[in-house]
Chain length 451, copies 2
């Protein structure tokens, strides 16, 4: 791989020199590399770096900045010289321009749009109407679009004309529309080379291409790309008019985002916490889940109190509570995570719910038997030399593990069937639920065997 | 979107008819849709469906089958008529052919290769040498490759010639090599349309293209695609000779796989469990983690036993143990997951370890203060009307949450710095560790305040 790289120190040195030194240095490196470098500088230097780059390059860099919170990006765009910001947005591909506009203040958006060409401004305004997490929010509106009445040689000469005006480097397909701009087919550009010049496009195009409606959710779009191995997908409006295309690089970001969302939900938080640098806001996102867990865990306290009258004479019973709750909790979360992730990737299908439950139950039984023997022996040899107590711990472990693996498997499947997001059956909730039931099982069995 | 769909019932009906009925029905639908349908049938029907399809279509279907374990795929390939299997592998793109060969028995691989054309067999044999999780394992060896001494018109006529022999639909770029087949540049095919016929390719190609070495790990490849917004990436060997290209559809699978891996590790298991249908094998993958947790949780028992001498007179102290362990565990796992996932996606960078720790500590403090007040009040009003006890629970909660969030943040960062995979700081381990330290903190504080 040969991407020219520059170091933090080189940028540091260039910051001491003139704007044109800086511009020359930045010209050398890939916008994505510049975007990761820029994070290492403070806001003033970030502004200086961006605004000394060519506006087009600055736009590319800004679009590549990941790991910045929206709040940080907002400050960045607000501090850029306004004329520079307008020029930058004017040269950006429309999908990136819309993303950048989306972080600006509404009043600023209007100002920026009024300074752009009427066509550009109208196009961006239309795109701003789509939700950020929809196909419309992902698409760019520049397509290579030709009428179905054209011929191969006509198509080639139109592309030649375009090349003079704009970048055609990133077009791999021609989209073919009828006289009302409805998408009717497509053609890989390489095909233009192999058909005789006079061939009507209609005769060689691939008909009824895969497309998505602009208001489809981005997760569905990502699933289509993954399922049908796409590299680009045309977007249509409700009248079937071609309005843009989604490229695979944006879909990769969506796939990562969606996985992120599930990771965060799994541990009782939300990936919106990445959008704010404020510790108070992040704490307020995490607290509702944690407080429910806290309140829930007092139910476990109530269970212990309930049994404490009988159990007081047998203090050793208290020793094994963390063993029971730890195993119930971990196994429950393990099963629910395997199911939640499986449902998200398609590895687990709701249609097979019964066989999945049976399989997890079988796995749970093997684990339960093993853990039960180990727990019984450990409690006897390491903690208290009492056969009945060891037996109690072993039997309780068996029951708790079987219960935890069944509920961990069943809950996300039930949530999915009821139309909820299975990822909300998150770690904290499952853990607390299994703490309570685990202790109930343990003390009930202990009462029967020991007291 | 207009992908023709067929139903389970239609396939069921066609299975009653002749092979050609089945073939006609399958011809209509996309291989990816057929792959999801086929999972719903039993092995004999799967064999019947695959072997009545055209071998090329069957190959496409087999490559799209996800959610099958390798063991299931192995049985499937072994049961297909051998001649059909050979023909199918012969028509597959080389990356898929290698994937299919990789699940066959070694003796079968040799048999299959000996039946293919010498060129095909030699190419596949070379590709089989690369690790499945490397760039070489991801690539396909069919590239549009031209010498740098050629001209635009020559390039066009070579593509025309190729089209007659094989599918060129999926080529978007020409790779340009010197006379020793070393990669020196590339050109988007659309560019051939816009330059005059006599232009030497050398003058218009993009020099020093991004490429990867065949033995690079697939995770690094995926990161390059994501970072540089690629749709295809050429692969070179150590002598810089062009040997293949990786397309973005395979990279999407890698990104999903890598996220899967982290999800599974997070809950103390391994995504290799997806490759086996055997419950015993899956249990044996999960057990080592669970048994370590189990043994670890007996350390927590030891802590309780240690303090039980003093605490016996104060049975109510036992009631709050699950409150302490649940909160320590959940908050520890929450912090470690946010860090592990952040490190994987690049949102968290090791270079900022100190500021990340500080930020999580700030968040942890806010959460700790809130939970501490709630826990103190709950224990007083709902469980035991004892001010000192409520105070003990509150103060312990504060200390435990701060400790759990610091350790949950620090451990993955330290693991990463030491060169380990931070994802091994998985839920079960963190939970058990925090159970033990949480109880130690709680009983120590209780001893000071109450006894």
């Amino acid at each position: 791989m040969t991407v020219p790289q520059i170091t933090h120190e080189q940028v540091e040195a260039a910051l001491q020199g003139s704007d044109s030194d800086l511009e020359l240095l930045l010209r050398e490196i890939h916008p994505a590399d510049c975007a990761s470098l820029i994070r290492e500088f403070d806001l003033d230097d970030q502004i200086r770096i961006l605004s000394s780059a060519h506006p087009e390059k600055a736009g590319d860099i800004l679009s590549e900045i990941q790991g910045f919170s929206s709040a940080e990006e907002f400050i960045l765009t607000e501090k850029l010289p306004f004329d520079f910001l307008v020029e930058m947005i004017g040269t950006m591909p429309s999908d990136n321009a819309v993303d950048t506009l989306n972080i600006c203040k509404p009043s600023m958006i209007a100002d920026i749009l009024s300074r752009l060409s009427p066509e550009k401004s109208e196009a961006l305004e239309e795109m701003l109407r789509y939700g950020e997490e929809t196909a419309g929010g992902l698409m760019t509106d520049d397509c290579l679009q030709l009428q179905d009445s054209t011929t191969v040689s006509n198509a080639i000469s139109q592309i030649k004309k375009m090349k003079k005006e704009e970048e055609v480097l990133h077009y791999h397909y021609i989209y073919i529309t009828d006289d009302e701009e409805r998408l009717v087919g497509y053609l890989p550009i390489v095909d233009l080379l192999v058909h005789p010049d006079s061939t009507p496009i209609k005769d060689v195009m691939i008909r009824d291409p895969l497309s998505v409606n602009a208001d489809i959710d981005q997760e569905q779009v990502a699933n289509m790309f993954a399922k049908y191995d796409l590299d680009v997908l045309p977007v249509i409006n409700r009248g079937k008019r071609l309005i843009g295309r989604i490229t695979v690089d944006d879909v990769i970001d969506v796939i990562k985002e969606e996985a992120d969302e599930d990771f965060y939900k799994l541990v009782g938080t939300d990936d919106t916490e990445k959008e704010t640098p404020s510790s108070i806001k992040i704490a307020s996102i995490r607290l509702p889940w944690l407080l429910s867990t806290l309140i829930g865990s007092f139910l476990a306290s109530t269970v212990i109190k309930l049994f404490s009258g009988h159990v007081k004479e047998f203090v050793a019973l208290f020793f094994f509570m963390p063993v029971i709750t730890a195993m119930s909790g971990n196994i429950g979360v393990q099963c629910s995570t395997v199911i939640v992730r499986g449902l998200a990737t398609g590895f687990v299908k709701l249609g097979y719910a019964r066989s999945i439950l049976l399989k997890e139950l079988k796995i749970g039984l093997i684990i339960a038997l093993t853990c039960s023997v180990v727990a019984g022996l450990c409690s006897y040899f390491f903690i208290e030399h009492n056969v009945k107590l060891g037996f109690t711990v072993g039997v309780s472990m068996l029951a708790c593990v079987v219960f935890a693996s069944s509920s961990g498997t069943a809950v996300p499947l039930i949530l999915k069937r009821l139309g909820f997001d299975p990822a909300i059956s998150s770690g904290p909730i499952i853990t607390t639920f299994n703490d309570i039931t685990g202790l109930l099982i343990y003390f009930t069995i202990a009462t029967v065997i020991l007291l």
